[in-house]
């Protein structure tokens, strides 16, 4: 037990060290950390509450007083964009967590049990996957209604397939491994084998899918809110700030009302994707500079693998 703990600690340490040596992960983590800090300290940075109304200062372009300008009610855009990150990131992270949960449980079950259950879940995932996601989300929204929690639920229900497929694939290959055979021989229960023994070995794809889903959901939230069907407008999310752009006059004359929120989304998503790429490299050595490694293997090692 003690030893296991130590092992885990050192694994964690190696993981962190590798991550910090991975340039894309470092860039991504830096971007994300800065943006989260900005979101948390939005009011302190902007010097004004995001909801403070000052009609006299309305519709002003970027200036030293208002770095990102002001909206029609004279609310400071810097403060709104920075604090807008809070809910957007919250939606992305929670929805991604739930989607991963669904995907993992289904993937583990289907992958371990195989057979009919697997075939059915696989079919469903195929269908959900090919159905244009936004339309699916819209249909769900029209059934569930609007609201931040509904948006999260909808994303989770429509976004679990990537994780599902990855986990299922891992389970397919792992279930024949020796340690699983041993578990079965010991007579452990299925849930115990699935979730206590095999699952920890599939963490890498789950973690990678988690980050990728965050990026996807943040973009989806923006689209949904842009259409006026996302998070209630009283919550300033990046997507809700973008609704301003539904008015062509705003697109034309008040560019700062939509360019800054959109840029924030793009930069944050870029950061998340960088972290995702970094994690993939660090967690899964098979993916690590796939091409160079493969060539080197083909050229030099040839059938070395078989010898061992």
């Amino acid at each position: 037990m003690q030893k296991k703990k130590q092992d885990q600690q050192s694994t964690a340490r190696i993981f962190v060290r590798n991550l910090l040596h991975n340039p894309s992960a470092v860039i991504g983590l830096t971007i994300i950390s800065i943006m989260i800090l900005c979101a948390v300290f939005a009011v302190q940075i902007a010097g004004v509450e995001p909801d403070y109304i000052d009609p006299i200062e309305g519709r002003q372009g970027p200036s030293w007083d208002h770095l990102m300008g002001t909206d029609q009610l004279g609310r400071d855009m810097l403060s709104r964009v920075l604090s807008g990150g809070r809910q957007s990131i919250y939606v992305g992270v929670i929805a991604s967590f739930l989607a991963n949960l669904i995907g993992t449980v289904l993937g583990a079950t289907a992958g371990y049990l195989g057979g009919k259950i697997d075939a059915v879940v696989m079919r469903v995932s195929e269908l959900v996957m090919t159905f244009p996601q936004l339309i699916l989300v819209l249909i769900f929204v029209s059934l569930l209604g609007q609201g931040i929690n509904n948006v999260i639920i909808v994303f989770a229900l429509t976004g679990w397939m990537t994780t599902f497929r990855l986990v299922r694939g891992e389970f397919f290959s792992l279930r024949e491994e020796a340690f699983v055979e041993a578990d079965r021989a010991f007579g452990f229960s299925k849930p115990r084998i699935i979730f206590r023994h095999i699952l920890p070995n599939t963490m890498s794809p789950i973690v990678v899918a988690f980050t990728i889903n965050i990026a996807i959901f943040i973009i989806a939230e923006a689209g949904l809110s842009f259409l006026g069907l996302g998070v209630p407008v009283t919550t300033p999310t990046w997507g809700n700030l973008l609704t301003a752009a539904q008015n062509p006059v705003v697109v034309d004359e008040y560019w700062w009302l939509w360019v800054f929120p959109a840029m924030s989304i793009a930069i944050f998503v870029l950061g998340v994707n960088f972290v995702g790429d970094g994690l993939r490299d660090v967690l899964d050595p098979r993916h690590k500079s796939l091409i160079a490694k493969n060539k080197w293997k083909v050229v030099l090692v040839g059938r070395l693998g078989r010898k061992k």
Partner: protein, 306 residues
């Protein structure tokens, strides 16, 4: 499969608390309550729900899609009107992005670290981080408002008769959609080309002294096409679903804007029909994927493998 989907779609929509008659005719716009009852009867809303479902199925099968709650128009008419607009938009973007992605992806894969490679990598990373409607808004702002080269939206303006008359209307939405699709497609093509380049038969081709362009064109390209084509086939539902956000930005009278209107107004008959058609297209698309695979790869064609 199709039946399961249809039942799901139908009964899910019936969970809605909204009385379709009320949605069609707001209470303060009703001439007489007897008229509403008559309408309810005519629309078959008094029948048993199973009967309604069967009627709906029968009607769908015969192309009788019912009426929109919102406008009262026949849904078949709405589709006939909106579908060509969406097809025009999405097909153009699909074709354009495929050509661009294949070309760029081929060059990128062929010369790693070259200009095409750098360009496509930047596109691949940045492209998926930017919401597609934002691309649309930027293009709109730049080309329609700042320099006023292109129209701000709509599909056909008065006086525009031929396709070329209204061609300028198509440019911005197609460009937006193309850029948005390009990111993923280019990543895919590039990786596929790189994979193919690593395969042994490329070495064989080179060992014959075949020039590099020929190696790329004749050997690499064709074998890289498979996965890309499969990806494309899976985009087919877009042909029905349209690209909602892009259509919204450019006021494009397609299926995308129809869905938005239907969802915001809980216009269930329209939502149901459109989802049903998309589901059908998905089923067709998966057949198509198999066909494409067999055309590109003779091993599949002969049903064998090795």
């Amino acid at each position: 499969m199709a039946f399961t989907i249809s039942a799901l779609i139908f009964f899910a929509s019936r969970l809605s608390p909204i009385d379709p008659i009320n949605a069609m005719v707001p209470p303060d716009m009703a001439s007489d309550s007897a008229n509403l009852e008559q309408l309810r009867e005519e629309l078959g809303l008094n029948d048993h729900i199973i009967l309604q479902y069967l009627t709906w199925l029968k009607n769908i099968a015969t192309g009788e899609f019912g009426y929109s709650l919102q406008s009262g128009q026949k849904i078949s008419e709405i589709l006939a009107l909106r579908m060509p607009a969406t097809l025009e938009l999405v097909l153009s973007a699909l074709v354009l992005s495929t050509i661009l992605a294949l070309t760029l992806g081929l060059f990128a894969g062929a010369k790693k670290g070259g200009i095409a490679d750098k360009l496509s990598r930047i596109l691949g990373v940045v492209g998926i981080a930017i919401p597609d409607f934002f691309i649309g808004l930027v293009l709109l702002n730049l080309f329609a408002f700042r320099v006023e080269w292109l129209p701000t939206g709509n599909r056909v303006a008065p006086g525009q008769v031929t396709f070329w008359d209204r061609f300028p209307n198509l440019i911005l939405p197609v460009a937006t959609l193309t850029i948005a699709m390009l990111a993923v497609l280019i990543r895919y093509t590039r990786n596929s080309v790189l994979d193919t380049l690593n395969r042994d038969f490329v070495k064989t081709a080179r060992s014959k002294g075949v020039p590099e362009w020929r190696v790329l064109y004749s050997h690499v390209f064709r074998n890289s096409l498979g996965p890309v084509m499969v990806l494309l086939a899976f985009r087919l539902p877009l042909l029905v679903g349209g690209s909602i956000l892009v259509e919204t930005v450019f006021q494009w009278p397609g299926i995308g804007t129809t869905i938005i209107a239907a969802v915001t107004a809980s216009d269930y008959p329209v939502i149901m029909v459109v989802s049903m058609i998309i589901a059908m297209v998905i089923l067709v698309a998966s057949f198509l994927v198999d066909i494409i695979k067999s055309i590109l790869d003779p091993r599949v064609r002969l049903g064998g493998g090795n």
